[in-house]
Subunit: 147 residues, 2 copies
DNA sequence: ATTTTACTTGACCTTTACGTAAGGAATATG
DNA sequence: CATATTCCTTACGTAAAGGTCAAGTAAAAT
């Protein structure tokens, strides 16, 4: 199971050969590689996050390099705590679907910044929650001891 | 809307008068007082957290002092981030239903301790998540600048 | 006595991110 | 070619914590 990777490789230039002849994969293989289920991939397509992959004669989906990158991108964002709905809203501004990684705009930065402050807020909330629980614990101990 | 209060008042002794003649209340009034809906109260009863209150002739629930304390107890625990399911499991050991606050056992302490470490864990996770996002942000900035 | 609230139960709805099964077609393997 | 595996779509199920009707009483206010 590969670690989801958000950004494209920058190890080599546009036309390097070691990526050009990557084969397309089917859904089962792809799912296995990324440690998710086929249902998940179809679901992302269903809600419009993945865009439509090519199909073989019989209807079998085949995912090319870009599709795979896109999926990894989604998984990475999810790993970072961004919900699928947020990604959808995100896609309105910054078009994941076109998936031109070269055109990554400052919008993404903005979104990440926003997410950082959300996380900060969550941490703060949990901290005060922790204090409350501790304090509460002390009160109970006191009562037990004074009985 | 009163602040939910977990522990019984310790301001006066067992038989002080200022609590003895508290009247029973109906569900709507109680809900309003605690800032929740009637549905919530019925729901807690439904899942066995609240125990069955007395009823008037027509079936109207009336909540006495103990019922109210119990509900406040539940709300307090919820506020502390303990899920209803956890409370149900909790009730197997430490019987909320009997609601003898005098018999608060060290079990509750144990549970709170466990919850503290859970919260600690969540905070740790969020912190590293934050770092990842920041790091990610930096990577994107770099790419943008080197183009 | 009558209107107006408040209360009752029951049952379906909501959100998120898929799980799971049914029934059938296509691809891979022996 | 027969079989095994993978794939397809459709569609209902799940958990948490209630929200939201609806139809029918009861209690309170006038």
């Amino acid at each position: 199971m590969e670690t989801p990777q958000l950004l494209p490789d920058i190890c080599c230039k546009e036309n390097c050969m070691h990526k050009k002849n990557q084969k397309s994969v089917q859904i089962g293989e792809l799912a296995k590689r990324l440690g998710i289920t086929t249902r998940t991939i179809r679901y992302y397509e269903e809600i419009g996050l993945m865009g439509l992959p090519e199909r073989l004669g019989g209807g079998t989906r085949t995912f090319n390099k870009d599709d795979i990158l896109r999926l990894k991108f989604i998984l990475k964002l999810k790993e970072l705590g961004i919900s699928l709905k947020e990604m959808q809203e995100l896609a309105e501004h910054f078009d994941i679907h076109q998936q031109e990684f070269d055109t990554i705009t400052p919008k993404l930065i903005e979104i990440l910044d926003l997410h950082i402050s959300k996380v900060d807020e969550k941490i703060a909330n949990l901290s005060s929650l922790r204090n409350e629980i501790v304090e509460y614990r002390v009160r109970i101990m006191d009562i037990l001891n004074n009985k």
